[in-house]
């Protein structure tokens, strides 16, 4: 609890420019892509921070900006063909270093060593023409000046560590020869080969079936304990969140609508969108028919985000606040409890009432 309030406090007073005491801190991050069809505001003013050894889960529907955020931290947006066009602003502090303004090559050297990433679909995320070992070795030798032999031993040891049977044989296998779960493990091995302090996992379990999912999550948790690294896990699966998260950040339309500890967000969620998410989370102890409260409508266009509260077009309670404040004024994040923040025009009373009377019983 103290932990939470502390981070909450830290986030309460934004101190742009100077390094925060948190291990990873993102301040007012904006990532915009100019396209033929207009300026896509994938991330539009996002702030959060993660301590070592902690796990932050970013949830939201597809297109809400979760993945973009992760790539932004890794500094992967600025690379490649479209790199020139990306517009990034705000601050990303990693262990006292600011990355947005940093020289790309400096960021490159951090990439894979201090911060590593696990991608959603390991099959397409690994190069089909090179063996697993080959790719891990490469990842290792970028940052460690060692012989191929040594690197290979390291690779095998990592494969072993992530629980791949007879690693010294599998090390020469190609990605397509691995099963989904094994592939994801290999992926993790590759990410952790340099003991990164920050591990970003973008939907690491989506492509896998339940049992494997659980194993992978356990694996990530164990490794986190072992290396004491900070983990940012991106998912739209609240099940996963409940399983692994310390803190939760709910994103909608490129912004944060609610943030807090797992307990806060799951026990007393403050944002109608969060309610929607919770409502749409299946539970085996209920009949399908009655349990789902779907959130109607479609995700907001990131080119012209709805005025006022981006969620108002789909919000069943948009008319409760007086006037058309929900349509005109964009709600700011407000602390609604120790380290629990929410961006909503509804008065605390209304929220508690709606939650306790309408939503909770249905869950």
């Amino acid at each position: 609890m103290t932990e939470l309030s502390k981070t909450g406090a830290a986030l309460g007073e934004p101190a742009p420019g100077n390094a925060p005491d948190a291990f990873l801190a993102v301040r007012d991050l904006k990532v915009h892509f100019p396209t033929d069809d207009g300026l896509v505001k994938s991330v539009d003013g996002l702030s959060f921070q993660v301590e070592k050894g902690k796990t932050l889960c970013i949830v939201g529907e597809s297109g809400s900006g979760k993945s973009v955020t992760s790539l932004a931290i890794m500094g992967l947006h600025r690379l490649g063909a479209q790199g020139k066009h990306v517009q990034m602003s705000g601050e990303i502090w990693l262990d006292g270093k600011e990355l947005v303004s940093a020289d790309p090559d400096e960021v490159r050297r951090l990439r894979g060593r201090e911060m590593a990433m696990i991608f959603q679909d390991p099959l397409s995320a690994m190069h089909p023409y090179y063996t697993i070992g080959n790719q891990i070795v490469e990842a290792y030798r970028v940052h460690n000046d060692v012989s191929k032999k040594v690197a290979r031993k390291r690779a095998i040891e990592m494969l072993d560590r992530v629980g791949i049977p007879e690693p010294n044989k599998r090390v020469d296998g190609y990605p397509h020869e691995f099963s989904g779960g094994m592939r994801q493990r290999a992926m993790i091995a590759m990410a952790l080969v340099n003991n990164p302090e920050l591990l970003i996992a973008d939907e690491p379990t989506t492509a896998l079936d339940v049992t494997v999912q659980a194993q992978i999550l356990d694996l990530i948790r164990d490794l986190q304990k072992e290396f004491g690294s900070a983990v940012v896990l991106i998912t739209h699966d609240l099940g996963v969140v409940a399983e692994i998260a310390d803190d939760v950040l709910v994103m909608y339309g490129g912004r944060c609508v609610e943030r807090g500890s797992v307990d806060d967000v799951f026990e007393r969620p403050q944002h109608p969108y969060t309610w929607g998410l919770l409502g749409s989370m299946p539970r085996i102890d209920r009949e399908t028919s009655e349990r789902l409260i779907p959130v109607k409508g479609q995700p907001p266009s990131l080119i012209n985000v709805p005025s006022g509260c981006a969620f108002h077009p789909r919000c069943p309670y948009a008319d409760i606040p007086k006037g058309d404040v929900t349509r005109t004024v964009r709600p700011e994040l407000q602390q609604v409890g120790g380290g629990h923040f929410s961006a909503c025009h509804l008065s605390p009373e209304d929220r508690t009432r709606i939650w306790t009377e309408e939503i909770a019983p249905k869950l």
């Binding site: 992967l76 063909a81 050297r109 894979g112 190069h127």
Partner: protein, 335 residues
């Protein structure tokens, strides 16, 4: 891998048989489509005012009155075991592989082909090197800076290159470089005789061909490269902290170029099968020109021979490409 090779080779052989059969059938049926009878066909091989007996004799020598399957059988047998034709006092021997016998010029087709092949190979090989290098380089550069000035400029040129008819650029090249400013030679010289001359005479032809193909290849490489650089594994490579140069070279190119092998193989195969227009325009005595000659003499065996050889090249190219591909892309080996 071995079993894969065997499977593909077997398939190739079958394909080759089918192609020969169809080709043969077409050439057997064609004249008849045009309303020719065996008699008329035979008559072409005799001077004027032939007697019935003469025609009958020729028809029999050439086996023109046999049914399709019989002629095809003889043909295949000829390729494997060689053939002999009764020509009155002597019998013409056409040693295996007998690709037919031109009764117009009284020579076996195969030696003609083999003697002309070097020319076609010289042409194709030289041009291929040119276009592969230039095409791929240009393609990669443009792909790395898409919609940059460089990219637009080169793609513009490339598109123009694709749109220029060979027989137009070829003649322009001739007009400029062998007539206006006679820099290059006119008659083909074998490499073995004089490499310098050889290159000198072939150069205009190479350029004209290369212009066309490198344009195509630049476009291929570019789109392939663009696609690959959007792949997840490229993102992964970057996430590892690799230098961009390495990402492009080791991860990008490798994946982008593999499919180009296929196209290249096919093109080369087709070209070897007779760069008919180029050889005509630059009057190179290659097999393509041989086919055209056969057409002007309406002498079918050479045409048939060239067509089969060409088909053979294509099929072989196909096979090699598949094997290369398998070597390059581990995923293929399974299927």
């Amino acid at each position: 891998m071995i079993s894969y090779i065997l499977r593909r080779t077997f398939a190739a052989v079958i394909l080759l048989l089918v192609v020969t059969a169809v080709t043969f059938a077409i050439f057997f049926l064609l004249p008849r489509m045009a309303g020719q009878t065996a008699d008329q066909l035979a008559q072409q091989y005799i001077g004027k005012s032939p007697t019935k007996a003469d025609i009958a004799a020729v028809k029999q020598n050439l086996g023109l009155d046999e049914p399709l399957y019989a002629q095809y059988w003889h043909f295949i047998k000829g390729i494997v075991a060689g053939a002999t034709y009764d020509l009155g006092p002597t019998t013409a021997h056409c040693d295996a592989p007998c690709f037919g016998y031109s009764f117009k010029n009284h020579v076996a087709v195969w030696p003609q082909l083999t003697s002309r092949l070097p020319v076609t190979i010289s042409l194709a090989a030289g041009a291929a090197v040119m276009w592969l290098v230039s095409g791929v380089v240009i393609g990669v550069i443009s792909a790395l800076k898409p919609r940059s000035f460089f990219d637009r400029a080169f793609m513009g040129v490339a598109l123009a290159g694709v749109s220029l008819p060979m027989f137009f650029t070829g003649n322009l090249a001739l007009l400029l470089f062998t007539y206006q400013w006679p820099i290059f030679g006119r008659t083909y010289v074998p490499f073995t005789e004089n490499p310098a001359q050889w290159a000198n005479t072939l150069f205009p032809a190479w350029c004209s061909l290369a212009l066309l193909y490198s344009a195509i290849y630049a476009r291929l490489t570019r789109s392939g490269m663009l696609e690959t650089m959007n792949e997840d594994f490229i993102r992964t490579a970057r996430a590892k902290g690799l230098r961009e140069r390495r990402v492009v070279a080791r991860h990008g190119l490798r994946a982008a170029l593999t499919p180009i092998i296929t196209v290249f193989g096919m093109d080369l195969g087709l070209l070897l099968g007779g760069a008919v227009i180029t050889e005509t325009v630059f009057s190179l005595p290659g097999i393509g020109q041989y086919a055209v000659q056969g057409i002007t003499d309406n002498d079918l065996p050479p045409i048939l021979g060239v067509t089969l050889l060409a088909a053979f090249f294509v099929v072989i190219a196909n096979l090699l490409v598949d094997l290369l591909y398998a070597a390059a892309d581990p995923r293929v080996r399974l299927s």
